[in-house]
Symmetry: C2
Subunit: 338 residues, 2 copies
Amino acid sequence: MNETPAGRPTLETVARAAGASRATVSRVVNGSTTVRPDVAESIRRAIADLGYVPNPAARSLVTQRTDSIALILPESATRVFSDDAFFPGVIRGVGEALEKADKQLVLLLASTRSSHDRILRYVHGRTVDGVVLASMHGADTLPEELRAAGVPVVTSGRPLGEATVPYIDVEHASGVEAAMRHLVGLGRRRIATISGPQDMVAGRERLAGYLAGLAALPGATPLVEEGDFMRQSGMDAMERLLERDPDIDGVFAASDLMADGALRTLRRLGRRVPDDVAVIGFDDVEAARFTDPPLTTVHQPIHEIGTRLAEQILRLVAGEEVEASVVLPTHLVVRESA
Amino acid sequence: MNETPAGRPTLETVARAAGASRATVSRVVNGSTTVRPDVAESIRRAIADLGYVPNPAARSLVTQRTDSIALILPESATRVFSDDAFFPGVIRGVGEALEKADKQLVLLLASTRSSHDRILRYVHGRTVDGVVLASMHGADTLPEELRAAGVPVVTSGRPLGEATVPYIDVEHASGVEAAMRHLVGLGRRRIATISGPQDMVAGRERLAGYLAGLAALPGATPLVEEGDFMRQSGMDAMERLLERDPDIDGVFAASDLMADGALRTLRRLGRRVPDDVAVIGFDDVEAARFTDPPLTTVHQPIHEIGTRLAEQILRLVAGEEVEASVVLPTHLVVRESA
DNA sequence: GACATCCGAGAGAGCGCTCTCACGAGTCGC
DNA sequence: GCGACTCGTGAGAGCGCTCTCTCGGATGTC
């Protein structure tokens, strides 16, 4: 005589209640079509009555799947986390897409030095089916190590150097070139840039876009100060630029935050925007609509980057082929700063 | 004759390589002290050689633990996600603390209508050992349902009504009262407030703080417009306030974002801050230092809220007792807007 | 020197599930 | 009417781990 089920119901419990076998219950749970309708129905009723929920640990022990995906945010990402809308946006995009696919999102914040090893251990343990790497680092070895570990990986942003894993990125350079054309079209001739860090592809390509755009101005010389994508660095860089050339009449900043910083410095130093100096940013975060004046900026589809990342990793996990890269378009959003 | 291990090494593989039994290897992996040093050493070497990593699914199948904690961000949270530094800050805090405890962070973004059921199913499946609920909703039934499911739960922010689960919150009212004293001390007499949504405790308590602070001004009547914590609502509310009373000389806004909105409206309508109107916000997010003028605001320890949440849930999961509530202090940060 | 004690290590069961394989009963063809 | 199928179902192995129980040998006690 079997005692009443004490804890959570198992397949066995349900099977007994429905007068079927464990195997058949499993079939119903997993949506097999080869079960006689009336049997399936009584099993479903038993499942509902008992409040049965499959034990994911037991399931993944045999299936070798976990139905969860890791999203790794490296140190540099978490540093700017609190002031930048990029990563929250990506998280949302990834999260939504994974939810639709009924996968779990495991967040790995690589904030400390020991994180690297911890992540590798974690991934080696196969607690996740795949990894989305929001890597902005330059020579980060993580993508390659993860690939070597045999885990499906997709990264956000093309890595510096050879890309060894599929990635999602945006058209940095062409977006910036559109911004430069806009400035030139506005009659600006002394156009400077506040670039991003040059150990990130985003930083490099946006600078490349600036240089390419400058080519439309015969005889113009590049005027570059580097920032770190954050607001304060934009304020400082703008000050240095004006010291180097007080006659600057146009600025492209490689992030909205830096553009906002530039706006503040310009205002403080008595320059009118856009009359004296036209300013264009990059990102089109929410706050860009609220700068003073509202920021003209290069829009990148942050949310879509997230959903695309999820889409690609899901396909890889499912064993499908995937494009080596997906590059999403950017476009200029004209507001009042230029 | 046993064939060479094909896939990932298991305990068995390691045991054979080290000439020990599965049980002993397990002991070493789990740090048991009852293994003879030399045996332990050779096992550790075998583990390193083979690159053995325990299979978490197999482990949790028997231990009934998963070593992961869910962080649930409800719809309202994800909506403001992209522009508010609160949730990213909490995520970071929780993430860091969990990392230290070697637990995983599973992010559940409750963005869609079906999320409620999905979350319950998920939690019933015991894929996580505990749940941190960043609930800001009013009559959200989730905390109670989770508790009923027998899962340890901690929420961020006291729920409206009876608190059925432990929570972490901050001293909303007393912080606001300090802000009000500051305004009164500045000689302000017509003090208005832009309140938060009244279906959230944070919204209500900050309003209560305003009303309490106003009591120091004999004969003063409350002047309240409600916002939704976002910037645009602050802009609109400020406009309505000035229509109702053009002589307002002080404003407390229940969030920094709304305070920033108020600042913009005031500037647009030709009011000088703080000369004509003094403005105080709440949150002390990064951006508060960059408003124009820099925002005087009530600081709340966002990061600490996260770490405390993690701390409490870890204790609950470990079977320890926990305070029914932890209320963290707030304090006024005086900058230039008041 | 005989017996109790203790400690390190192995054998084995079992966590809850999936999946292959086998089997019995019906269906069809000739 | 008999062999060949098909189809729904059950039995049973086994995923990789932990943990209890047991046991052999070393140590201690008188």
